[in-house]
């Protein structure tokens, strides 16, 4: 079952990197940005109907974001992981809500915390943070401790004490 899906993907997307970890129940695919949406539609047709999560990893040294999509097939009991690299200056990617409706909130959360644009998502308003004026907080160049010290603590005898 894993081999059928691997052969379909290899035939249709010859220059994507495929990797099968040793347990034999999951597939890891690394694709380029152009092939990313056709590959996900192909996976949805092959039976991957449960959208588990989309997570974003920030690599500031290599100037890219890596988006990792986690999918699961209820009938075949196989997990698929799809990795896409997008540039860090103007990050934008096509939304997948036409394939999986439940992905809308996950994309909204990643837009707020990392600043990634999802084209086609109707509602990208704020979810957790209110009146946030700094850069998206989960990026690597945002220093959480410095922000908290300036806003909430005052220094006294070298030991931070809460303001007020």
């Amino acid at each position: 079952m894993v081999n059928e899906i691997v052969s379909i993907l290899k035939a249709r997307f010859p220059d994507s990197l495929l990797d099968i970890p040793s347990e034999g129940r999951s597939i890891v695919v690394t694709v380029k940005k152009e092939d990313f949406y056709p590959l996900l539609s192909q996976l949805k047709e092959s039976g991957f109907d449960h959208f588990s999560d989309v997570s974003v990893v920030d690599y500031p040294d290599e100037q890219r974001f890596e988006m990792v999509y986690h999918l699961w097939s209820h009938q075949k009991k196989i997990r698929a992981i799809v990795k896409v690299a997008i540039p860090r200056e103007s990050p934008a990617v096509k939304s997948v809500i036409d394939l999986w409706t439940g992905a809308q909130v996950h994309e909204r959360e990643n837009h707020e915390l990392f600043g990634i644009g999802f084209e086609g998502n109707p509602n990208l308003s704020e979810l957790f943070l209110e009146d946030w004026e700094e850069i998206p907080p989960f990026r690597k160049d945002f220093d959480t401790r410095k922000y908290v010290k300036e806003k909430y603590y005052r220094e006294e005898e070298g030991y931070p004490i809460v303001k007020g």
Binding site: R25, D49, H50, D53, G102, F128, L129, F138, T144
Partner: protein, 367 residues
């Protein structure tokens, strides 16, 4: 025929409300029917994933309980297993058995808490006092084994931090016998109660196709007929050696979801009996360097929590601090996608019933 002017009011199903907890939603109603429901999460957002990047693995293991307080052992199990999978660490058999015993007790305790809160949402206050009194017996077991009542801080890389004693095993068997009698009592008083059946049958109905499309997991999905249980489909620890089944029902309404959780309590009691019977002797953990640096790579590990599928995506770059940890909480899809969809077209009095039959935990929605 005269023209009627349609006007609607906006009510808050707010954070200060007898039937909601740490969750805010704005409900647009016309008369008694709900037109639209808009959730506003964020009351418990602590930025867990960013804060975990500043701490080493042993420090993270004691703080990760706080992601979902009502079922703390599942969070620790997920984090610890994700790091061990990355580094191929050895865990002795006794450590694995102890981990699963505590996790299943945590699942029973979470479902008993749910019985109490569901009763309160329906207006049946007495069942909450009785159920939380029974939950106290499991929390005493927590205190005996781990030293803490609600925040156990018990699992570590390579096993568990303390051993369990023969007094614990004896008290565990007594608690299991007591809980089986109490399940009978709950059946007569709560689950076969005419008011409960009338208020929950046919309310909040989810079809199987809708449930998969909206990303439901856990008892909410199994009540629609699809048997997806991470303990059976991607087994971890010593679940392959234990005999149990995944509970499914067909109807998909609030009544089916409630009965799924009641049957899971009975199933978990049988799992704990088998584990306590087969508990091996030997060491309970292996020594791991406190500044343990997982090798470079990434890993995705899923655990079956009481509410659904809880997953950890861990990326490591060879240093003692994790590079990125992403937590997928089971209540994220339930509160933000399914609750608005099911509440549309319902009556105002059905809103707490639908909300609590989905069993959300705002802490693991916001993280």
């Amino acid at each position: 025929m005269e023209e009627r002017e349609i006007s609607f009011a906006t009510l808050p199903f707010g954070p200060q409300h007898p039937a909601s907890s740490h969750f805010h939603a704005l409900v647009k109603v016309e008369g008694e029917g709900v037109l639209e429901l808009e959730p506003h999460p964020g009351y418990l957002h602590r930025g867990f994933e960013k804060l975990m990047e500043y701490r080493t693995h042993p420090q993270n293991c004691v703080l990760v309980d706080r992601i979902c307080v009502l079922d703390p052992f599942a969070n620790e199990l997920g984090y610890v297993n994700a790091v061990e999978k990355l580094g191929n660490l050895e865990v002795p058999e006794r450590g694995r058995y102890i981990r699963l015993i505590m996790t299943e007790f945590g699942r029973i305790q979470s479902h008993i808490t749910w019985i109490g809160i569901m009763g309160m949402a329906l207006g049946f206050d007495s069942i909450c006092r009785i159920a939380w009194g029974d939950r106290e017996k499991i929390i005493r077991l927590n205190e005996m084994a781990t030293g803490g009542r609600l925040y156990p801080c018990y699992f570590c890389l390579g096993g568990t931090r303390r051993d369990i004693s023969p007094e614990f095993v004896k008290l565990a068997f007594e608690t299991l016998n007591y809980l089986e009698e109490q399940l009978d009592f709950y059946d007569r008083v709560f689950f076969n109660n005419e008011s409960f059946i009338t208020r929950t049958k046919g309310v909040g109905k989810l079809t199987a196709k809708e449930a998969i499309e909206l990303g439901a997991t856990g008892p909410n999905l199994r009540a629609c007929g699809i048997d997806y249980d991470v303990r059976k489909d991607e087994p971890y620890e010593v679940y392959p050696k234990v005999n149990f089944r995944a509970i499914t029902r067909v109807e998909g309404d609030a009544y089916a979801r409630s009965l799924c959780r009641r049957d899971e309590i009975a199933e978990s009691i049988s799992i704990v009996r088998q584990l306590l019977r087969d508990l091996p002797e030997g060491p309970f953990n292996t020594e791991v360097n406190p500044l343990y640096a997982a090798p470079k790579g990434e890993c995705y590990f899923c655990v079956e929590a009481a509410r659904g599928e809880l997953c950890f995506h861990m990326v490591s770059d060879g240093s003692p601090f994790p590079y990125r940890v992403k937590v997928r909480g089971p209540s994220f899809s339930h509160s933000l996608v399914e609750f608005p969809r099911l509440a549309k077209g319902a009556m105002i009095a059905d809103i707490p019933v639908i909300y609590w039959s989905l069993d959300p935990c705002p802490a693991d929605m916001d993280r």
